[in-house]
C-alpha cells in the first residue's frame, strides 16, 4: 500500500491541477475544495511515508521502490520512484511547505483562482517528483516540470518587475539545469552505464578514475550550484523570490532550491567521492562567499521581502560547508546538511508567509516606513520573531541542529584553517544582526505613519494556519531532531564504517600477506 502512496502523492496534485486548468466551468467552491484536498494529500502521505520509513530496507536504503512505465527503456531512462534516508524527510518537507503554500494561496483573493491553483499544484507535483525520483534523467525532467509553472505564475500573478526578472531567472535556472544535465549524461556515458537509475550509475561509477570523477563533479557543482544560488551564481535568486507571488516564493525558495543540494549529495557526494574531494576546497570558499559576502549584502537591504530572499540565499552557504566537511571524512557534516535543508525549507517559507501578512497590513515592503506594528498585530509580531529566531538558528528550532552539526563537523579545521571557522561564525552573527534588525524595524519602536493609517487587524485565520503548520514542524524537529536524523543516519551509515575501513584495509591485507 505504501509503495502505491508514493506515486499517488505525486499524481494527485498533477491530476487535480489538470482538472483545474482544463475545467473552465468548475465552480470556484468545488475548485477550492479539490485544490485543498490535492495540497493536503501529499503532505499527509509524505508524513506517513516518512514515519513508516524502514531504515534497514534492502535496495541500498531505498524504500517504496516503484517503477512506472514511463521513459525510454532503450537508453535506460525509467521513472523509478523511491525514498532513501535523505529524501524521505525532504519529501515530507516538500509536502508540508506545499500545504502551507496551498493554505496561503486559498486564502488570498486572485484573478482566475482556478488557474492559479492549478499551476501551483503542477509545481508541487514536480517538486515532489524531484525528491522521489531515483532516475537521474528524471531529476532534470522534474526540475523543469516544476519550473515552467513557476515562470507562468510569476508573469501572471507576480509583483513589480516580473517582466524582466522572470526571463532572467529562467535563463539562469536553465543554464544551471543544462550544465548539470551535461554532467549527468557525461557520467552515464563515461561509465558505460546502461541506466540512468542512480543505483546503477553508482555501481558503474565505482571504477571511475579520479580525474573523470572530478571533471563530472565540476559540472554538477556549477550546474546544481546555480540552482541552489551558490555564490557567485546567485544573482537570479533574490529578485526572483521577491517578485513571485508568495506561495510560489515559498515553494521555490523552500523546496525547489533544495533540489540542487539534494542532487549534489545523491549524485555528487554518493556516486563521485573522489570528485567531491577534489572540489571540496572550492565548496568551502564559495560557501563562505554565501555566508559572509551575501550576508553583508543582506544586511543593507531595505525592502523586507528582498531581505528575506537574500537571507535565504546567504543561509545556503552553510550547506556547502557541510558537504565540504563530508569530503574530509566528517560524515556528520552531511547529516547537518540534511537537517539544515529540512529546516531552512520550512523557516524560509514561514518568513515569506509572514512577510506577505505584514505587507497586507501596511501596504509596503519598505522597512523604513514600518515600525510599531506589534501593538496592532501582536500575534503576527510574535510569529515573526519566532521565525526570525528559527532562521538565525536558536535552540528549540530545527535550524539549530543543522547549523550546530555543520559547524561541529568543521571543528577539525581549527588548527589548519582557523579562518574558516572564524568566517563561518561571523556569518552567524551577521544573520542574527539582519534578522533581529528586521524584526525590530517592522514591529517595534514608535508607530510610523503607514502603520497608524493601516487598519487594525491582526493576522488572519488563513495566514495563521499556514504559519502554524510550518512552525509546528520546525519546533517538532527542533525538540526531537531524531525525526530527521534517524533516516538520514541510515543513509549515511555505510560511510561511517567505510571511511575508516578504507584506511585500515591496506594494513590488514599487508599483515595477512605476511
Amino acid at each position: 500500500m505504501n509503495s502505491l502512496l508514493l506515486p499517488l502523492a505525486i499524481f494527485v496534485p498533477l491530476i487535480a491541477g489538470t482538472i483545474l486548468l482544463a475545467g473552465r466551468c468548475v465552480p470556484t467552491a468545488l475548485a477550492k475544495g479539490l485544490a485543498a484536498f490535492a495540497f493536503l494529500f501529499p503532505a499527509v502521505s509524505g508524513i506517513l511515508l516518512w514515519y513508516g520509513f524502514d531504515a534497514s530496507a534492502t535496495a541500498d536504503g531505498f524504500n517504496y521502490v516503484t517503477t512506472l512505465p514511463v521513459g525510454i527503456k532503450d537508453l535506460g531512462i525509467a521513472l523509478t520512484l523511491g525514498l532513501n534516508g535523505l529524501s524521505a524527510p525532504l519529501f515530507a518537507m516538500a509536502g508540508i511547505v506545499g500545504v502551507a503554500a496551498g493554505i496561503q494561496a486559498l486564502s488570498t483573493e486572485v484573478e482566475q483562482p482556478n488557474r492559479y491553483l492549478g499551476l501551483l499544484l503542477f509545481m508541487l507535483s514536480g517538486l515532489l517528483g524531484l525528491f522521489a525520483s531515483m532516475d537521474a534523467a528524471f531529476f532534470y525532467f522534474f526540475h523543469e516540470f516544476a519550473f515552467l509553472p513557476t515562470f507562468i505564475l510569476m508573469l501572471r500573478w507576480g509583483g513589480h518587475g516580473r517582466y524582466a526578472t522572470a526571463v532572467f531567472m529562467a535563463v539562469f535556472l536553465t543554464l544551471g539545469a543544462m550544465i548539470s544535465l551535461a554532467g549527468i549524461i557525461y557520467l552515464y556515458n563515461t561509465t558505460g552505464a546502461t541506466s540512468f537509475n542512480i543505483l546503477k550509475l553508482k555501481e558503474a561509477a565505482a571504477t571511475l578514475d579520479a580525474t573523470s570523477q572530478s571533471s563530472i563533479f565540476g559540472f554538477l557543482l556549477f550546474g546544481l550550484g546555480t540552482l541552489v544560488s551558490l555564490f557567485p551564481f546567485h544573482s537570479w535568486a533574490p529578485e526572483g523570490y521577491a517578485v513571485a507571488p508568495t506561495p510560489v516564493s515559498m515553494l521555490h525558495a523552500g523546496v525547489l532550491k533544495k533540489f540542487g543540494l539534494f542532487g549534489l549529495i545523491q549524485i555528487g557526494a554518493f556516486i563521485l567521492p573522489e570528485g567531491l574531494k577534489a572540489w571540496a576546497p572550492w565548496m568551502l570558499w564559495l560557501g563562505l562567499g554565501n555566508i559572509v559576502l551575501l550576508g553583508l549584502v543582506t544586511m543593507v537591504q531595505r525592502d523586507l521581502k528582498l531581505l528575506v530572499s537574500w537571507s535565504s540565499v546567504a543561509h545556503m552557504g552553510a550547506c556547502f560547508l557541510g558537504i565540504a566537511a563530508f569530503a574530509s571524512g566528517k560524515v556528520t557534516g552531511l547529516g547537518g546538511v540534511a537537517v539544515m535543508m529540512f529546516a531552512h525549507g520550512l523557516s524560509v517559507a514561514l518568513l515569506f508567509v509572514l512577510t506577505q501578512a505584514v505587507f497586507k497590513r501596511t501596504g509596503t515592503f519598505v522597512m523604513a516606513d514600518m515600525g510599531g506594528l506589534a501593538t496592532k498585530a501582536p500575534v503576527l509580531a510574535a510569529l515573526f520573531v519566532a521565525a526570525t529566531m528559527a532562521s538565525v538558528g536558536l535552540p528549540g528550532f530545527a535550524n539549530f541542529w543543522g547549523e550546530l552539526t555543520i559547524f561541529a563537523s568543521l571543528a577539525h579545521l581549527v588548527k589548519s584553517q582557523p579562518w574558516v571557522l572564524v568566517a563561518a561564525l561571523t556569518g552567524i552573527i551577521i544573520s542574527a544582526i539582519y534578522g533581529l534588525r528586521a524584526a525590530a524595524a517592522v514591529f517595534f519602536g514608535p508607530e510610523s505613519e503607514t502603520v497608524k493609517a493601516a487598519p487594525a487587524r491582526d493576522i488572519a485565520f488563513g495566514e495563521r494556519l499556514a504559519a502554524g503548520v510550518l512552525l509546528v514542524a520546525l519546533v517538532a524537529v527542533g525538540f526531537v531532531p531524531s525525526l530527521v536524523t534517524k533516516p538520514v543516519d541510515a543513509a549515511l551509515e555505510k560511510f561511517k564504517t567505510a571511511a575508516p575501513a578504507a584506511i585500515v584495509e591496506p594494513a590488514v591485507t599487508a599483515a595477512n600477506a605476511e
Binding site: 507562468i152 508573469l155 517582466y163 529562467a170 535563463v171 549524461i185
Partner: protein
C-alpha cells in the same frame, strides 16, 4: 566489320533495358504515385467544384494523406525490406530509414495542408494550386530520400526547389512575399549550380584514369561512386572539392552555415504555410539527403568520413551560433522562427555527425533514431506555432512581432495553450517531446565524443531559452492597458487537429516506440 560493331551495339542496348526493366518495382513506389495522383485530383477539383464546395478539397487531401500514411505505417514494420538498388540503380530503399523518412514527408504534407486551410480561410488567393504544389513537392521529397543516383537526386531536389519558388511568392498581393520569392530563387539557383558543379566534377573524375573500373560502372550511382571515392579520396583534392560542392548544395536546403543568409528574409516574406513547409519539409529533405550521402551503407561519401566530419564540425558550431545569436534580439516572429530554425538545423547536424562517426551499429542506430525523433518533434511543434502565427496575424503576417502576442490567453485560451506547448517543445522543456528529442541528440553526440560541439550546443540551448521564453512571456503577460482584447476564432476541425498534435507533443516520454525501428 562495321556490321559486326553495329550488331554488338544493338545487342548491348536491350541488355541495358533488360536490366532496367528487370529491376523495376513500381509497387515499391506506391505512396509516391498515390501522392502524385492526389495532387492532380486537387487541380481537377478546382475546375469541377463550386466555390461553396471548396472545403472538400483540403478535407479530401487530408483524409487520403492520413490513409496513405497509415498504410505506410502499417507496412513499416513488415521487416522484409529489399535493400538493393531498384530501377537500374536509381532507387534504393535503406530499410527502416527510408520508410520513416517517407512517412515523415506524408505527415509534413498533412500538417502543411492543414496550415494552408487555416491560412486561406478568408483569402482571395487561388486555393487549389497551393494544395497541388505542396503535394508535388511532397512526392519529390519522398523520392529524394530513396535516391541512389545523382540524376534522380538532382531531379527530385529541383522539383522541390521549383515548387518552393512558387510557394514562397504565392501571396501576390504582398510585396514582402514577392521579394522573398525572388531572394529564394536567386540563392536557390546558386545552390543548385554548386550542387551540379559538384556532381559533374565527381562524374568526370570517376570516368577518368583515376578509376580502374571506369568502363564498367556508372559514376552517378551512389554505390559505385562510393567504391571509387573510398579508393582514391586520400590522393585526390579534386574528389574532396566535388564532395564539398555537393554537400554545399545540400547545406542550402538545411540552412546550414554559410547557406543560412536567405532564411530570415524568406521566412518573413513567405506565407506562413510555406514558411512552415520550408522549415520542416525542405529542411528535413536536406537532412535526410545528407544522411543518405554520408552516413548509410553505400553512401558516396562514407569513404571520406574524416574530411566530411572535419568540415561538418565547424559548420555545425557556426550554424548553431549564427542561428541563436541574432535570434536573441529578434522581435519579428517569423524571422525568429527562421533564425531559431537554423539553430535546430545545427542540432540535426550534430545528430548527423554522430551517425557518421558512429563505430558500433547501436550507436549508429541511436543517432538515426535521434535525428528522426528530432525532425518529427520539430514538425509538430512548428505546425502548432505557425498555426498560432496565422491565427494571430491573419493573411499578411510578415510584420507580426512578439509584442502582438501580449495577452494572448485573453484572446483565445486554446490558442494560448497551443502556443505554450509549441514554443515549449521548440525550447525543449519537459515533458514535451522536444525535450526527449534534444536529450536523444545530446546522448548521441556524447557517445560520438563531440565535446566541443556539445559545449556550443549547451550554450545555444540557454540562449534559445531566452528568446523562446521571452516570446512565451508576452503570451502570458497581464495586460496593462484597458483595451478589450480582440478574440480569435478557431474552426472546429482546426481545434481537433491542433489539439491532437499538442497532446502528441505532451506525451514526450511515451516516445519509446521510436526505438522499434
Amino acid at each position: 566489320m562495321f556490321l559486326a560493331e553495329q550488331t554488338a551495339a544493338v545487342a548491348a542496348v536491350p541488355a541495358i533495358y533488360k536490366s532496367l526493366s528487370g529491376t523495376n518495382a513500381w509497387w515499391a513506389l506506391t505512396p509516391e504515385i498515390l501522392v502524385g495522383f492526389l495532387s492532380l485530383v486537387a487541380l481537377v477539383d478546382g475546375m469541377l467544384l463550386k466555390k461553396r464546395e471548396a472545403w472538400l478539397t483540403p478535407a479530401m487531401i487530408k483524409f487520403f494523406l492520413l490513409l496513405i500514411a497509415g498504410l505506410s505505417y502499417a507496412t513499416l514494420f513488415r521487416g522484409n525490406y529489399i535493400d538493393e538498388p531498384l530501377f537500374g540503380g536509381l532507387i534504393r530503399q535503406h530499410t527502416w530509414f527510408t520508410d520513416v523518412a517517407r512517412l515523415f514527408f506524408l505527415t509534413t504534407a498533412f500538417c502543411v495542408t492543414h496550415l494552408i486551410t487555416v491560412y486561406l480561410r478568408a483569402s482571395r488567393l487561388a486555393h487549389h494550386e497551393y494544395y497541388h504544389l505542396t503535394l508535388v513537392a511532397t512526392a519529390a521529397m519522398m523520392l529524394l530520400v530513396q535516391a541512389n543516383h545523382f540524376v534522380l537526386f538532382f531531379m527530385a531536389l529541383e522539383t522541390v526547389a521549383v515548387t518552393m519558388y512558387v510557394l514562397v511568392g504565392y501571396n501576390r498581393n504582398s510585396p514582402a512575399s514577392l521579394e522573398a520569392g525572388v531572394k529564394y530563387l536567386v540563392s536557390g539557383a546558386l545552390s543548385s549550380a554548386l550542387l551540379l558543379a559538384g556532381i559533374v566534377l565527381l562524374y568526370g573524375l570517376g570516368g577518368s584514369s583515376l578509376n580502374p573500373n571506369a568502363a564498367s560502372q556508372d559514376m552517378l550511382r551512389f554505390d559505385h561512386l562510393s567504391q571509387f571515392i573510398e579508393n582514391t579520396y586520400q590522393s585526390s583534392l579534386l574528389v574532396q572539392a566535388g564532395a564539398i560542392l555537393v554537400l554545399g548544395g545540400v547545406a542550402f536546403k538545411i540552412g546550414a552555415f554559410p547557406f543560412n543568409v536567405w532564411i530570415p528574409d524568406v521566412y518573413q516574406g513567405a506565407p506562413s504555410p510555406t514558411a512552415a513547409f520550408l522549415a520542416t519539409g525542405s529542411k528535413a529533405a536536406g537532412v535526410f539527403s545528407l544522411v543518405l550521402l554520408t552516413a548509410v551503407e553505400g553512401a558516396p561519401f562514407a569513404g571520406m568520413k574524416d574530411s566530411v566530419v572535419k568540415i561538418l564540425i565547424p559548420v555545425t558550431a557556426l550554424t548553431l551560433l549564427v542561428g541563436n545569436i541574432p535570434a536573441l534580439g529578434q522581435l519579428n516572429v517569423k524571422r525568429l522562427m527562421g533564425l531559431s530554425g537554423i539553430s535546430h538545423a545545427g542540432f540535426l547536424l550534430m545528430g548527423v555527425i554522430a551517425a557518421i562517426t558512429a563505430e558500433t551499429d547501436s550507436a549508429h542506430h541511436l543517432a538515426l533514431v535521434a535525428i528522426v525523433t528530432y525532425l518529427f518533434t520539430y514538425l509538430f511543434a512548428s505546425t502548432l506555432v505557425f498555426a498560432v502565427i496565422t491565427h494571430v496575424a491573419g493573411e499578411d503576417d510578415a510584420g507580426s512581432t512578439v509584442t502582438d502576442y501580449k495577452g494572448l490567453y485573453l484572446r483565445n485560451r486554446l490558442v494560448a495553450y497551443l502556443f505554450a506547448i509549441g514554443v515549449g517543445s521548440l525550447a525543449g522543456i519537459p515533458p514535451t517531446l522536444g525535450f526527449v528529442a534534444k536529450l536523444l541528440i545530446l546522448i548521441a553526440a556524447f557517445k560520438a565524443g563531440l565535446f566541443g560541439l556539445l559545449a556550443v550546443a549547451f550554450v545555444c540551448l540557454v540562449m534559445s531559452m531566452y528568446y523562446y521564453l521571452g516570446w512565451l512571456r508576452e503570451g502570458f503577460h497581464r495586460l496593462t492597458t484597458e483595451t478589450e482584447p480582440k478574440p480569435i476564432v478557431v474552426g472546429i476541425r482546426s481545434r481537433i487537429i491542433l489539439t491532437v498534435i499538442s497532446i502528441t507533443l505532451l506525451l514526450g516520454f511515451a516516445a519509446q516506440f521510436v526505438f522499434k525501428f
